[in-house]
Symmetry: C2
Subunit: 222 residues, 2 copies
DNA sequence: AGTCTGATATGAGAAATCTCATATTGCTTT
DNA sequence: AAAGCAATATGAGATTTCTCATATCAGACT
């Protein structure tokens, strides 16, 4: 974790990733820029957060751990987005866990210094409502899917969405958490896809050999 | 579905269920009062809603149906709460389905007549953010639980929460949807509880015979 | 190269959950 | 009361998913 204080660099970020769309007042005095390495925590589960983050570059994951040691990956967080907004509002005191997947660069807003301004800023509040709604809708859609279809269908979908140039190469541990099944079971279903000739294991990932078959499986859904 | 226009009755409702906590301007000119019977739709899935509702009495359920005919019960909505707020913001165009469980009385706000006022009302926006956050947190928690524990554990919990005077008497169809399992499986696990002597089937519902045992099962969670 | 270690993968059997066919129950209607 | 019908309940076997033990692999260290 590195905090950037150099004014020149900060100016540069402000120009490339402006905040004026979200705030009706000048938020710059309350901002630091923080960079996280991959695997670092942005918010620690159960702790009271210090900042409202705005993720400008990178990808993180939001998770919730259960008493039995199991971890639910609730969502992937992709730039640009706010992180820690629920805690800001007081909807929950302590944070859910958020961990960087790739290196992440964030504006860290010192809310304790400008809470009043923020909570009276129509522009920000309106945007936040929209953001919260969209997040909720996405989550809900995801939950509902997870419960309604066997892994085969959901995985086919997931592969189609996340593959790049016909190559699927996500980390199995992450995916199994996101799809809400055990690592073992994910591998099992994936192996089935290979056995059926839909995928082919290569050094750089799984190559999609039979796109149509995969689509057909995914569609037993729609 | 009945719309109440009688000014006297409306005044009465306003006095008992005031809206001044949520709005910074006078919202009354834009309100009707609507009553729904149980099983009636407040929002029809896939349709564009006309109103923002504020549920003042009653209990409803929010669901989402899947291509394979399966229905996910996303949440129970208990008074007091807003319904249709995401659609108001434009976060989604068409509504999720909302159906009354008990008879429901709502303030129906004609948003097309006061959208500007509403979307510039700090008081309302702040409250809405909070409301959305809490809803999201609840959903997430529920979702995470649903995936992390077998039905036995979740059902024990659910029974403890929803039972009244040691009697559990929810509708199985609703519960199975909410807990994300088939009706059959719910009955199966419930029958096990009876066989183990934790519950006893009576005319008025299932009587909790062994509270401790049920708690112990539910706690294999926490 | 050898070995340690953590991450990743596989095997096998058990448990959870689903599907579908068939009963049973409780209302209406006649 | 009989018949019809929808809601509710049960049985049995198939699938999906899990658990846990073991195996393989890749990089770090010696």
């Amino acid at each position: 974790m590195v905090t950037i204080n150099d004014c020149g660099i900060m100016e540069d970020y402000y120009n490339h990733f402006p905040l004026s769309d979200y705030f009706g007042f000048d938020i710059h005095p309350y901002i630091s820029i923080i960079q996280f390495d991959s695997e670092e925590s942005l918010l620690q589960e159960g702790r009271i957060p210090h900042f409202l983050y705005y993720l400008i570059e990178g990808r993180a994951k939001l998770f919730l751990s259960q008493g039995n040691g199991r971890i639910s990956l609730i969502n992937f967080l992709n730039a640009p987005c706010f992180i820690g907004e629920m805690e800001l509002l007081g909807a929950q005191e302590v944070a859910n866990g958020v961990t960087a997947i790739t290196p992440c660069t964030c504006y860290a807003i010192r809310v304790n210094e400008c809470k009043d301004k923020i909570l009276n800023d129509t522009k920000f509040l309106r945007y936040l409502c929209l953001f919260l709604s969209q997040k909720a809708i996405g989550n809900t859609y995801n939950y509902s899917k997870n419960q309604s279809y066997p892994l085969e269908v959901r995985l086919a979908n997931f592969i189609l969405i996340t593959s790049c140039n016909r190559v699927y190469c996500e980390r199995h541990t992450e995916v199994s958490e996101f799809l809400g099944v055990t690592y073992r079971h994910l591998l099992y279903v994936l192996a089935n896809f290979v056995k059926s000739g839909y995928l082919k294991k290569t050094k750089s990932g799984y190559y999609i050999q039979d796109l149509d078959a995969l689509r057909k499986i995914a569609e037993s859904n729609q």
